[in-house]
Point group: C2
Chain length 335, copies 2
């Protein structure tokens, strides 16, 4: 048999569907006796409201869509976790969309989210292309950005100040007595996460009277393997350096591996500072000193903002969350 509907409950309890609906929503307008009857029927039939039917009428699905570049990365999944947490608390489900950083896929997801009538969407990490924006606009639902932002469109976001954080990391190395500091930066075509980090590094160097040397910066894509490659290149071809700032923990750890393989002691002979503070950064040995981004919290904040918007708040303001420098054991104090 088919699952029981509100009609079945009505019949079983001898009242109308309207009344059933009323007691289900705790509205007023029925006697205590009917309430009992209805509740009992609900119980007996094992009735569950149909959220689809409800959504059709309310124009609310209590569902949000979240786009992430790669769920299986620690980075994305920590944010996702935060998002899911508050969404669930506030009665929203999350449809998770793994874009693979692929435009086609992203577009398709947006399309589907639209058709599924999600109440809002959270877009994480990556640049919000015009095409995306167009679709998003078309779906007429609130959007919030996490770990990215749009210069072109006024969309609320949650993000740390990369430039400042990079500056902080570099300056820390300088304070520790390092004067020859290399950097492995992320995708350089990435205006959001790539460029500002490089700038922060450069600025810190200059502010402290240290020369910025193009030959001391390697380029990666934030991932481990590119961190390794960049480190090899740096070690082979750059002017010698005693410290390295990597624009992501993955790259830092990759670089660390290369250094260790070459017999360099960390931090005695090579200091390394990362960026992100992924969960496993404290697991490696020696534990990685890094810039902490409060990923789960950023997810939670985004979720909260989005839901406020959904519930009718006109405006929420973007949030620059503060990073934190976590000292562990990969940076040495120079004599």
């Amino acid at each position: 048999m088919n699952p029981p509907t509100i009609k079945d409950v009505a019949k079983a309890s001898g009242v109308s569907v309207a009344t059933v609906s009323r007691v289900l929503h705790n509205l007023s307008g029925y006697s205590d006796k009917t309430k009992q009857k209805v509740l009992q029927a609900v119980e007996e039939l094992g009735y569950q409201p149909n959220a689809i039917a409800r959504g059709l009428i309310n124009k609310r699905t209590q569902t949000i869509g979240v786009l992430v570049p790669d769920v299986s990365s620690s980075f994305s999944s920590e944010i996702l976790h935060g998002i899911e947490q508050v969404a669930n608390d506030k009665g929203f489900s999350v449809i998770m969309c793994n874009t693979d950083e692929d435009g086609k896929r992203t577009l398709k997801y947006l399309q589907v989210l639209g058709e599924k009538q999600v109440d809002g969407v959270i877009f994480t990490s990556g640049s919000l292309e015009d095409e995306y924006y167009k679709l998003l606009k078309q779906m007429r639902v609130p959007v919030v950005l996490v770990n990215t932002l749009s210069h072109k469109h006024a969309i609320p976001y949650v993000k740390v100040d990369d430039r400042q954080a990079s500056y902080h990391a570099t300056e820390y190395l300088i304070r520790k007595g390092h004067r020859d500091i290399a950097m492995i930066c992320g995708t350089i075509t990435d205006a959001i996460a790539g460029v500002p980090r490089l700038e922060g590094y450069r600025q810190a160097l200059e502010d402290h009277g240290l020369e910025y040397m193009e030959s001391r910066v390697g380029y990666g894509n934030f991932r481990l393997d590119m961190g390794r490659e960049a480190m090899k290149l740096l070690l082979d071809e750059a002017p010698p350096f005693t410290a390295l700032f990597a624009a992501s923990d993955e790259m830092a750890i990759g670089a660390m591996g290369v250094a260790l393989e070459r017999g360099l002691k960390i931090p005695e002979e090579m200091s390394i500072i990362g960026y992100d503070d992924l969960v496993f950064s404290r697991m490696v040995f020696p534990p990685l000193t890094t810039i902490h981004q409060p990923l789960p919290m950023m997810g939670r904040m985004a979720s909260e903002m989005l839901i406020q918007l959904i519930e009718g708040t006109d405006q929420v303001s973007s949030s620059i969350v503060s990073h934190q420098l976590i000292e562990r054991q990969t940076v040495r104090q120079m004599p």
Copy 2:
């Protein structure tokens, strides 16, 4: 204005909604001319079908629910990634539910998934309690299990043979010449992932004429910190050992950290083999030798099975996927 509906398209193209529906679904029964008109109207209005309304009628939402204990863990998110991938390919969205291994939350999620009329659910890692089963049954949709199984209920699953894999890991250590082998096993109350791994270890020892010593097994909960604690205890109180088998990579890495902190060289003075092969296990230094579980693939398989079931296949068979021993650099060949 409200988003355009099929009615608007009908009006704009001067035909009935039935006809619009027909061309949208590529059914037969309209002239080429009408088709053009309709398509043009769709285009002009920017019409998007409403999947909610569609779902109400079809009793199909093209959505599945996935329950994971902790998205932010590498373990869960790798499986999730696999699931999402094929789901998306086959036109399904995934609602992700983070249970936190909490019964109440799980129950609530199941409830919501039921109300949202998902077409199926995938349950990962953890024991399928009777209460869960009851709700699942009530929602009348197919279910598949990943990285767990149910002895009580006949539900298809995808899983590696833990006992065998543990045996394999232990035997490998023995082949490498180790005779004093400790183990850190997972939650011992976990009949699915805990006990069998311990048994495999024990069996391997016995089959090779080695004594199984209760004092050489530590207990953890699969997580890093417990791995650390267990290792400390083992190092302090167990009879000396040259090799360790940890029932999860996290614990292996935790144990590795402790060994390293105490000045033990890995693998020269302490060999370690893990279990899972999480992405970061190759990132640590030295890279971890471990039992590989094809997590993303298991996710993909589960997704495929579930969708087959949804599309009407009567039965699918459970799948014991094979593990693989990945030799990296944490196990030493004894002289």
